[in-house]
Symmetry: D2
Subunit: 341 residues, 4 copies
Amino acid sequence: MHNIAILGASGYTGAELIRLIAGHSSMQIKALGANSKAGQPLGAVFPHLRHLDLPPLVTMDQIDFSGIDLCFCALPHKTSQEVIAALPKDLKIVDLSADFRLRDPAEYERWYGNPHAALEQQKEAVYGLTEFYREEIRSARLVAGTGCNAATGQFALRPLIEAGVIDLDEIILDLKCAVSGAGRALKENLLHAELSEGYHPYAIGGTHRHLGEFDQEFSAIAGREVKVQFTPHLIPANRGILATIYVKGDAQVIHKTLEKAYLDEPFIEVIPMGEVPSTRHTRGSNFCHIGVAADRIAGRAIVTAALDNLTKGSSGQALQNANLMLNIAETEGLMMAPLFP
Amino acid sequence: MHNIAILGASGYTGAELIRLIAGHSSMQIKALGANSKAGQPLGAVFPHLRHLDLPPLVTMDQIDFSGIDLCFCALPHKTSQEVIAALPKDLKIVDLSADFRLRDPAEYERWYGNPHAALEQQKEAVYGLTEFYREEIRSARLVAGTGCNAATGQFALRPLIEAGVIDLDEIILDLKCAVSGAGRALKENLLHAELSEGYHPYAIGGTHRHLGEFDQEFSAIAGREVKVQFTPHLIPANRGILATIYVKGDAQVIHKTLEKAYLDEPFIEVIPMGEVPSTRHTRGSNFCHIGVAADRIAGRAIVTAALDNLTKGSSGQALQNANLMLNIAETEGLMMAPLFP
Amino acid sequence: MHNIAILGASGYTGAELIRLIAGHSSMQIKALGANSKAGQPLGAVFPHLRHLDLPPLVTMDQIDFSGIDLCFCALPHKTSQEVIAALPKDLKIVDLSADFRLRDPAEYERWYGNPHAALEQQKEAVYGLTEFYREEIRSARLVAGTGCNAATGQFALRPLIEAGVIDLDEIILDLKCAVSGAGRALKENLLHAELSEGYHPYAIGGTHRHLGEFDQEFSAIAGREVKVQFTPHLIPANRGILATIYVKGDAQVIHKTLEKAYLDEPFIEVIPMGEVPSTRHTRGSNFCHIGVAADRIAGRAIVTAALDNLTKGSSGQALQNANLMLNIAETEGLMMAPLFP
Amino acid sequence: MHNIAILGASGYTGAELIRLIAGHSSMQIKALGANSKAGQPLGAVFPHLRHLDLPPLVTMDQIDFSGIDLCFCALPHKTSQEVIAALPKDLKIVDLSADFRLRDPAEYERWYGNPHAALEQQKEAVYGLTEFYREEIRSARLVAGTGCNAATGQFALRPLIEAGVIDLDEIILDLKCAVSGAGRALKENLLHAELSEGYHPYAIGGTHRHLGEFDQEFSAIAGREVKVQFTPHLIPANRGILATIYVKGDAQVIHKTLEKAYLDEPFIEVIPMGEVPSTRHTRGSNFCHIGVAADRIAGRAIVTAALDNLTKGSSGQALQNANLMLNIAETEGLMMAPLFP
């Protein structure tokens, strides 16, 4: 049985980690850090978890990390790097923030607006897209969870860039994101009365920070600079990311390339040619569904991908990585079927 | 490993059974009956289950029941009794329809409008409210799953009627039900554009069929006729029943009575005095949350209860009963935490 | 053409007033006060109103009230009384806050927790439930808009209490309220991810402030103390209040009493016996639909009422009152049909 | 006062026409045709319209067209052409179906799968995109309402194609459509439990019928064949279309071109450079909001457009056209502000 700590337990990704670990056969939660709600029982902050027998929320400095085997950091960006810099240097960590995703500190500063405060840790961090960094993750001390949008786009595109079957200069990602991706922060534009019954694009024109990840990863695979066009939209639903990706290439070849790439992957389902995924069919699960269709215009294809931003896009991915780091079966605690309807 | 058949696999309660059994350690699905969609793979009817390796949908007469240990019937009312009458007489069955809930055939005919077509089976059926019929269910061949509204109301009221701590002539149940309780039928009033963004009562004035169950059960406990007032409402959400029950009695006594009754129950959580449950905190789980508050008018209390109509209200209850019938741990496959947000 | 000022123009009831007045034939908006967003154009705060040619948002002390015929105050409770105390003493005012609803300052302090800061104005305020205070409103200088829940309950109950056709000691109001009633405040429990897909009671046990209005009004009509039992619930929709009211009395008599009471009212529709209203059918309009049904238990009836909390429950009522105060046809600007779907 | 008939009054576009005409100063509804619900009062089919004093629903052959000045046909595709072929040859008609949108009968048959049954009427039909066919509509007898998706895309793109400021071979339209666009038909995929909380693309790969309109119109403007790439998505909301359009061209030039094109248009709002529209801000109104942003990749821009599919996308457009045909002010009955929240 492995002892687990979770920092940032009062946010949505923290709650999702607890939900998942509650069904895990060889992990037990030993500490729950949540500075702003320290002193409260978990059930007061997340009543859906009231049935669990868990330690109360504490401030982070109240946690004794000596018996902890692995720590999840589900803290806001910038806070995370400061906290992690102060944690024991031999503690295994899966970070869910954006702080260790970009390998180049200059790129980090460009997208996030501040110099990085934990450069040493950043150097050892492994990018946490499990299906593509599996071996590095297995032996990593610090794994940086990917952005949820960045994960969705990469599942659809990495094998295609790798195989050279699409035009690298003509990739357009139109993403539709559910609300929980924005977290539990108090912002007017996240109120129910503002969001429900309507939808809109945001971060238009290539200003979304997850582009930093796309640029880093796609350019590395291609061996040249690859810049995608990316527009996210906020949709009135709580969970789910849908990516509609417009590419130039042969749809059949693209479909075969994806099928081949994910043949042995337990969580990536390439669905039959011409079919489309739906966010409702991955809800609450660690699965990602990918579809391919030819457009009526010859030489063009549409690649679509759906996953749950809180599970496969964040906390599920984090647990998958933790399983690898602790030498547990990769799928342990993650095979639950989606919740529909 | 127990072999399971599910009849009515293309409806919502069928899908929910499959979701739950997919995570069960000692059951395997051997047959999926769905006459209207026979011949299709399950993933075509329920794409969220496409990752599962399951037999294709077949007509019911294509199923060989000889190797089946237990059969779930998730068929529409009236169809269910006809199908069950024709099944092997020694096959263990958990029925999710309304067909075997009422012990008195005259009551059945009064509420459902047709004479019962499986009187012999009706006689042996055990009412499936697990927490109150546990021993009978353990040795039953045929268990009748309760109505989802009926289950919610009974969890809140049975211990109070039993203990004699409320006025039996002044019980008012105001229920708020999510949409999936109405099933996957093609009805204009179930369309998204009709239902979302609004809510309304239905079956007003004491005409809802689940009243047959309330009458049968509450009168049996009290040893006299008990008739509750019951108004359901349709709410724009997919899962969840919330009961707000107005009773006359001492709120503290009521709270203590409920706490005592459910002290050892794994799925019933009596929350602290004065707190209220929310459907979103039981979503996708087998838990039921019950709250009690005193009203400002002396001698009156409000008992509130929330559960997921598809899980604890239907398929989760069915699996809980099947565990008992097959001598498996009652909670097996049912301890997953709710999905929030 | 009458000159209008609106204070609190950046909240939902402020926006609703602007929407309604934009379609009014004899009112023009001359000033929009919104301290926190002063300096911004209205279209930046409410993009749905960007097509209107209106003055920019200003702080309240920037407004010259000398040419204003009537001022709507759509400010938060407590702020409103302070602002109104400082306004010109001869300015006609329709207040949408709770500050002038309760005639007894002790009752105000009991429900709102602070001594009243504008006792002089409170004395002259007329309770703004148009259908029942029409003549007083016509000649009033200051009209206090009712609570949206309080309005809904009173439309259903006032004629019945007046006519003496229900048991005054056995009135239970179960209310279902949409989210916009809680305003645009930044509270965690109003986030989309918290609210959608679930529902729960709140202010349970008779603690909701609108009870002060029920007590005041019902007791005045009955000539004795009347205390109702009242439980509100928050429902995942943006607009609409549904009241399900449990009473003891003859349903036919109740229905006839309501039909008679509202025969000539342009906005109150008593629907046929046995039918039920739905919030979605009053959305965006100034109509209130009221239904009556007999319960299966003899001598009991259920009265149901639906209206839009932002329109008939708040800003529409305010405009209806303003029409009376300015000697304009009462229905002017208010006859738009509901928006469905 | 002009006498109006509406055929297909029991569908959503029929109800929307009634809502709008109820607020029109110089139209009165004289006949409401709805074969499947003939004999019922309108309030039974659309309770939100119960306050209106309107004729009951009748079958179409019960309508005396001799006193009718203009007839709206809100019938399903294919039915519409058969009905219109049989109507008086001098009756002014605004058709909301797809039947008269395509000028070339071969194109009609290609997209809709059946030969056209009213070729004579098709010849005289004018395409009803008001802002671009205003003069033809004024003198037309039969106007063909556009597709709601087709209208949205054309508002964003026509001035750009006309002005030659974008690359005609690289236009990608990613559309997000609300549910009411699919009408009130009984289809499993339109149920609330299927649709809410999730979203997906449909008609992928260039198979959506509105492409027929795009091809016809864009090619006519350009004087050469123009084929756009078009993927619609179904979003869990009742009203609203959002188009995210990826083009190659200079964003500033594009924005100026749109501003100039719509300078005098009462219903088309080009919002400031870099801002984005939202469907919730056009809800229930006849407005269309259009935004432009430059992408981070030089030479690329994103044009976004939002409107209400039932109003500006269908019934509002139809009324705007009827106003022109009857020599009424074009904006009469259409200036209501959007409903938010």
